[in-house]
């Protein structure tokens, strides 16, 4: 029998707010353990949670970025369970009345067609403390770090619309792009600011039954999500074929062994409305304010790049995938650089150089003004491409302007035809055999002669002009 998989995902995203969700402690989970704590996030007796407005704003921006309907009324519940990472015995989470419902994202399916994947709802919740398991001598001990307790999260719950690991990975990528655009989180699975759990079931292909699902956790990259889902589908098919029923449970992805293993279920209880956190009422005016903060989103931006700058779809998608890159390229173009030049040089030179140096657009000293300065010299034929590449590397090293670096390196291009003619004459005289080859129809001899001329100029000659002069002199 042929099977198909039915996949839904639950994605936790840590919001990049300045403070925790219910107190004024800094939202910096990575600090020295238990530094960022207070009676509220330690849940000492007598403390009362104080809901952060910034958390609501950042969460709302996520909802808008994912095309969700923000609800007029939402509320926090107490999700009751007893575990050392949760010292008050419940987690504040919007179980019954989530912040937003009914969203969607478009992805490109495996068949190349656009596929709309629906989002069931998005709710806010606080993160729990982090458990660190160590040993003291031979005794295993568990330590609790409360820096993460109370960190603001949103959880995005999709409909089971995905049918393959590809769908799930594309959805996560699209979601990450949208959330980075609205500026609410960096959505890094590697550093834990985005955590993905997948719910997977299988059914005979062509039917619409909903079978028992299995939840898979602990993937720390998008690739792992794909691998884990692939494995889990195969495992479930093998189960069914072996006559074993699928049981509702949770499994952990083991990235080393590339398998999922059953995990002991955490006892989880009911969700009771919290009497201490006020309900959230969203007014139209406030919603309008949030909507006004929405930037141009990647899909619209790509369309505009195609229309306005004449980029190909592929170039436009690449240049709009990250908000900071899209703004960078646009600034460069606004300096008068041809869009094609800007795009090409960003993709092939600037971004690899950035990666090599482990820098980001936000922290590099090669800002769009300096980069555009370099490209404008290239476009005006003041330097050639080789020189431009060398100067780009130097731009990363200090604060000198591109023009100053060009002067210092003495790589300003020789575009004076009369000066180059003399140089070409000398090259022709010194390479009689290559000249003869060319005349006998060996086309690559031209390349050799250009190379010789460039070398003679110390790399400074304008290669286009050299070719023109050579062509003329050889009467080709």
């Amino acid at each position: 029998m042929e099977y198909e998989s039915v996949i839904g995902v639950e994605i936790h995203v840590e919001l990049n707010c300045a403070t925790k969700m219910f107190c004024d402690c800094p939202n910096r989970p990575g600090d020295e353990p238990n530094r960022n704590t207070c009676p509220t996030c330690l849940w000492f007796p007598g403390a009362i949670p104080k809901f952060s407005r910034e958390a609501l704003e950042k969460a709302s921006m996520v909802c808008l970025g994912l095309n969700c309907q923000i609800q007029e009324r939402s509320a926090f519940d107490q999700k009751v369970y007893y575990y050392p990472d949760l010292p008050k015995g419940f987690q504040l989470s919007q179980a019954h009345k989530p912040l937003a419902r009914d969203g969607w994202l478009d992805i490109t399916g495996e068949d190349g067609k656009t596929k709309k994947l629906r989002i069931h709802h998005i709710h806010m919740e606080e993160d729990v403390a982090k458990l660190v398991h160590e040993t003291e001598g031979r005794t295993p001990i568990s330590l609790v770090d409360f820096n993460r307790a109370g960190v603001p999260l949103v959880e995005i719950v999709t409909e089971p619309d995905m049918r393959s690991p590809h769908d799930a990975m594309e959805f996560i990528r699209a979601l990450r792009t949208q959330i980075r655009y609205v500026g609410s989180s960096d959505c890094s699975m590697e550093s834990g600011t985005m955590r993905v759990d997948a719910n997977i079931s299988i059914r005979p292909k062509g039917t619409d039954q909903m079978n028992t699902k299995v939840e898979v956790k602990n993937m720390n990259s998008i690739r792992h999500v794909g691998d884990a889902i692939t494995y889990e589908i195969q495992r479930q098919i093998a189960c069914l074929q072996g006559g074993e029923p699928i049981i509702l449970h949770t499994r952990l992805w083991d990235p080393e062994k590339k398998v999922t293993t059953a995990m002991r279920s955490k006892f989880s209880g009911p969700c009771v409305p919290d009497p201490a956190v006020a309900q959230i009422l969203i007014s139209q005016a406030w919603l309008n304010e949030m909507q006004a903060r929405l930037p141009e989103m990647p899909a619209q931006k790509a369309e505009r790049f195609i229309r306005q700058f004449g980029l190909t779809r592929e170039e436009a998608l690449m240049m709009s995938a990250e908000r900071d890159l899209s703004e960078y390229v646009e600034t460069v173009i606004n300096h008068g650089i041809k869009p094609k030049t800007a795009t090409h040089w960003l993709a092939t030179q600037f971004l690899p150089a950035l990666r090599e140096r482990r820098q980001t657009i936000a922290d590099t000293t090669v800002n769009p003004d300096r980069f555009a300065g370099l490209l404008s010299m290239l476009e005006r034929d003041e330097i050639n491409a080789n020189a431009a590449r060398a100067v780009l590397n130097q731009l990363f090293e200090g604060d000198d302007s591109p023009a100053a670096l060009v002067e210092k390196a003495g790589v300003r291009q020789i575009s004076d035809a009369s000066a180059l003619e003399g140089l070409v004459e000398k090259v022709l005289a010194a390479n009689a055999s290559a000249v003869a080859d060319f005349r006998n129809g060996v086309a690559k001899a031209m390349g050799f002669l250009i190379g010789q001329a460039m070398q003679a100029s110390g790399g400074k000659a304008n290669p286009k002009l050299i070719r023109e002069i050579l062509t003329k002199k050889l009467g080709a």
């Binding site: 007796p45 007598g46 403390a47 009362i48 949670p49 009751v80 010292p87 009771v272 409305p273 009497p275």
Partner: protein, 399 residues
């Protein structure tokens, strides 16, 4: 130095507002009201050796107004009921001019009626709960106990008001507690519930009626009114209260403070043993009841929440027609201080808990309904935010 009345006695109480409206007034607290540096065990082994880290907002305000916080008394476990509570004795014994008692189901009013004192439970949400270690967040509040109603208004004026750190406070216009001169006719029409005598024995009902005649003599208009669902207040309080208590008490794990069981195989067992050893019987039973509704019968909890909303509306509707509702504060055969089971606690607080379910203000008046030295107490339950009116009516009755 601890005593029968005080679990903590401040050797030389200090305040920071020497010229405040409460200058020199001695106030006793319960040990579940946070005063930085004071032992704050809330009558429970679950908070053994817990010392408050911050001042409750109410504590800050009392000290700022010049009040002298003389110490904290002895209280029932987590303020559930009145077993072992000594707070009213601190006032009747002259150790304090007034005391604050956590009023979750009527504790301040019943304690006062037992000691021949006045007590006032304000409208829910006008006094910050920050720093109050309670059990039922949606019903509990500070109750003020004093020898005369004139002492209550200045305390209320100081402790009531918005607290930007208590987000659970609704956005209410805080009433103006006029401290000089009483508006004598603010409370005129008082309703007596037809259903109330049905909850009492014949003797109690007769006594209550004779007390009511004193109200008439004092110039109030009495009228009979009906509230068919009055009997549901107890059930709603118990279901909602126990669920909230189960959640609130979830934090007592014996790890960071409080009693911790000595030997346990793993953390789960450590929690179970610590909690089993820490809580006393009524509280433990109450938490079990709450857990039952949370885990096994959530529908019943949701029903209770819906019925609560209906009860709130019914009381508000009734109070739109009259200025207050008169009820006895306590009953004769159900001593609150001796209640040892959840059922006995609810029996004892049957007539006071409606004000907690609805969040309405209530005044306990001594010396009106009494029999052979047993003071039943009289409660006037008023409209939301009508506290100055109730206190004026009280002053009138005292004369």
């Amino acid at each position: 130095m601890p005593s029968d009345i005080f679990s903590h006695r401040e050797p030389s109480p200090s305040s920071h507002g020497k010229d405040g409206t409460l200058s020199g007034m001695k106030v006793a607290l319960q040990p579940n009201m946070s005063v930085r540096g004071w032992p704050t065990e809330a009558g429970s082994m679950a908070l053994k050796r817990f010392v408050a880290l911050e001042n409750a907002t109410v504590v800050e305000r009392l000290r700022g107004a010049g009040a002298l916080l003389v110490g904290s008394t002895r209280m029932s476990e987590l303020g559930f009921g009145l077993a072992g509570d000594s707070t009213a004795s601190a006032v009747s014994g002259g150790h304090a001019d007034c005391a604050l008692i956590t009023d979750t189901m009527g504790e301040s009013r019943i304690a006062a009626s037992m000691a021949g004192l006045w007590a006032f439970k304000p409208t829910y949400g006008i006094v910050s709960r920050l720093g109050l270690i309670g059990l039922v967040p949606s019903m509990e509040c500070y109750g003020v106990v004093a020898k005369k109603p004139q002492d209550i208004a200045p305390v209320m004026k100081v402790i009531a008001g918005r607290d930007e750190n208590d987000f659970s406070m609704p956005d209410l216009a805080i009433p103006d507690f006029h401290l000089d001169g009483e508006k004598e006719d603010a409370v005129k029409n008082i309703a007596v519930l037809k259903e109330c005598p049905e909850l009492l024995t014949a003797d109690e009902a007769a006594l209550f009626r004779s007390g009511l005649s004193r109200l008439e003599k004092a110039g109030f208009n009495l009228q009979e009114a009906s509230m068919a669902d009055f009997g549901l207040f107890r059930t709603v309080h118990q279901v909602v209260g126990s669920v909230e208590a189960s959640s609130s008490a979830g934090k007592y794990d014996g790890v960071r403070y409080g009693h911790r069981a000595s030997a346990a195989k793993n953390w789960n067992e450590m929690y179970l043993k610590s909690r089993a050893e820490a809580f006393g019987l009524p509280v433990k039973a109450y938490l079990f009841q709450g857990a039952y509704f949370q885990f096994e019968n959530f529908d019943a909890f949701e029903d209770a929440c819906r019925i609560r909303a209906r009860l709130v509306k019914a009381m508000d509707d009734l109070l739109a027609r009259v200025d207050a509702i008169a009820l006895p504060t306590r009953r004769k055969g159900y001593p609150a201080e001796k209640a040892a089971t959840v059922g006995q606690v609810y029996d004892a607080f049957l007539l006071t808990l409606a004000a907690n379910v609805t969040g309405l203000p209530a005044l306990q008046v001594p010396g009106i309904v009494s029999d052979d030295g047993f003071d039943f107490g009289l409660q006037l339950v008023g409209r939301r935010l009508s506290e100055p009116h109730l206190l004026s009516a009280g002053a009138l009755l005292r004369r």
